[in-house]
Symmetry: C2
Subunit: 339 residues, 2 copies
């Protein structure tokens, strides 16, 4: 039945676009700024004393769009919430840009938008402006979602990938590779154990607790595409330092580790969507670790390595058998459309 | 040759993604914030006294991606610059989210990114954060671009589609239907006269001149998808007023009018990408018109109608032959993928 599917008309900007906005989108994302229906959102920041904002964007093209533990909708909200938070900022506002393939089931669209609304509520951010485009069947794959986010940065924060310092301890907030292995297993229709689901989660409360504590933090980064291995390489290069991690310290769920072994993937390069890496000064690392562990999404946090004084820009790993190997950036594409 | 095409690897987040960023994107969009390569941009707004920001997003899926007068790149920059400006704000920062189809020519991508960089420079905005995804061949159509923008709102501005007031004069900044007819003609490979090209242009300097003049302005809106007819309907509904326009006052280039007649399209519903509608108090309308006419993109500006005291939420047009007809919103899809 055609009325159950998204039509090209839904993206026309005309009457049917407006009915989709008023019938489907506004009730779910309801907030007064979005309901103004202007070309942009006007946001009052007068109660904010800070003079810096953080701004980030990410487009989500994950395949499949539904998977154990979530769907493309909460992935898109949490992903940008986290990117803003990784600047040390407190995310407040999100935009949503939808590209929908003609013929998508309206029930699927509603389910995704509902998940986005719920994820935004959980993260404490408002979806304040948006845009919907519909492209003819075969010109996109079901739905692609862009989210952009604005956050407010506390004063005197200098959290950046370029700020890693010799002696820093490296904390990971939990197990790695959950998201990527979930997507891969869903796509290949592999039999999954109940232990494997996406780790997609908002990390902004965890970051706020760290920032509010006053402990010295130098780098925050979420190891998404490219995984922990690539992210550590980015930081080593940006900060011109050497990083050393210990394989036996890196938490991986046994079901995920088993799947990685079965499929021939290295968990170091598999995407995460609800984990962060924190580089903390050695005196403050234990305190920050305790703060992270208190967060709903940080229970399995631990210290996995440290920053060495060498200026090699490289990442090394002490392996399980006691050797040392270089951890390079991901080369080539392991898993397309993982987020 | 494979090296001339975008590969899935370019979207992996790994080594080849990074080389695309450093070899292609950074040199074009060069600015210190983007070059930080963090997950988000940290923006200093300490020299800004205003306490309101404007935030807007738009995704561009235009087909074809190259057309007379521009390409998807400047369209994406100008479109979001204009949406932010239509809030009465001064756009400063843009994000760019790319979805690229595997196999796209790198030369085409470079050309588009170069156009984006040039358009951003012309509009005086900085591209400060971005994201690139690559999807397998056949899962998107060449390239889709999302841009989101942040602007600063002067104090005491209340420009919104909900603020049209009885007596307001309605100004259009130039000829209508240029962009939509350009795209349609390109797509159908119709023989085009040199008069027909996109009107894509940044309108932020025009808006700033209006705002700085202190003249009373109630509504600013750019009539993109759905055209002038749909945009006026949106404003009539948001403000709960009646709008009357005069057909003989609406500027349409003769080549565009001819093409509309030939193809059976009503120029009222054809997209514009470099025009604005301004609702101004009657005492200030002529002064605002003069300001618009002085702008590079406002030479053909004129007053096309006014706001009546009736609360019908409808739009009427006095036709060329002296009758009056209702102008409804666009129903159905005239032109998919026009922007």
């Amino acid at each position: 039945m055609a009325e159950n599917k998204v039509l090209l008309d839904h993206g026309s900007g005309g009457k049917i676009s407006h009915s989709m906005m008023s019938d489907i989108i506004l009730p779910l994302f309801n907030n007064p700024v979005l309901a103004m229906l202007d070309d942009g959102a006007v946001l009052d920041i007068s109660d904010i004393s800070s003079k810096k904002i953080a701004f980030s964007t990410d487009t989500y093209v994950v395949d499949p769009i539904f998977f154990p533990g979530g769907n493309i909708g909460d992935l898109a909200v949490n992903g940008t919430v986290n990117d803003v938070a990784m600047c040390g900022a407190n995310p407040l506002f999100l935009s949503v840009g939808l590209i929908i393939e003609e013929g998508m089931l309206i029930s699927d669209l509603k389910k995704i938008l509902k998940t986005m609304a719920d994820a935004a509520k959980k993260a404490g951010v408002n979806i304040v402006t948006g845009d919907t485009k519909v492209v003819p069947k075969g010109k996109a794959d079901k739905i692609f979602i862009n989210t952009s986010g604005i956050g407010i940065l506390p004063d005197n924060v200098n959290v950046t990938g370029a700020n890693a310092q010799p002696g820093d301890k490296i904390i990971i907030s939990g197990t790695i590779a959950d998201h990527g292995i979930t997507i891969l297993s869903s796509r290949e229709d592999l039999k999954m154990t109940s232990d494997i689901k996406t780790d997609s989660a908002p990390l902004n409360y965890m970051v706020k607790a760290i920032m509010d504590s006053g402990n010295e933090i130098h780098v925050l980064r979420d190891p998404t595409r490219g995984g922990l291995g690539t992210t550590l390489n980015e930081i080593a290069a940006q900060s011109n330092v050497e990083i050393k991690i210990k394989e036996n310290a890196i938490p991986v769920k046994s079901a995920v580790a088993g799947m990685c072994e079965l499929l021939g993937f290295d968990p170091l390069y598999i995407a995460n969507e609800g984990k962060l890496i924190a580089f903390a000064s050695p005196d403050h690392a234990e305190k920050i670790l305790e703060i992270i562990k208190k967060d709903e999404f940080g229970k399995d946090a631990c210290i996995i390595g440290e920053v060495l004084p060498e200026k090699s820009g490289k990442v090394y790993m002490e392996t399980l058998i006691g050797g040392t190997r270089i951890v390079d950036m991901l080369t080539g594409e392991q898993l397309p459309r993982i987020c």
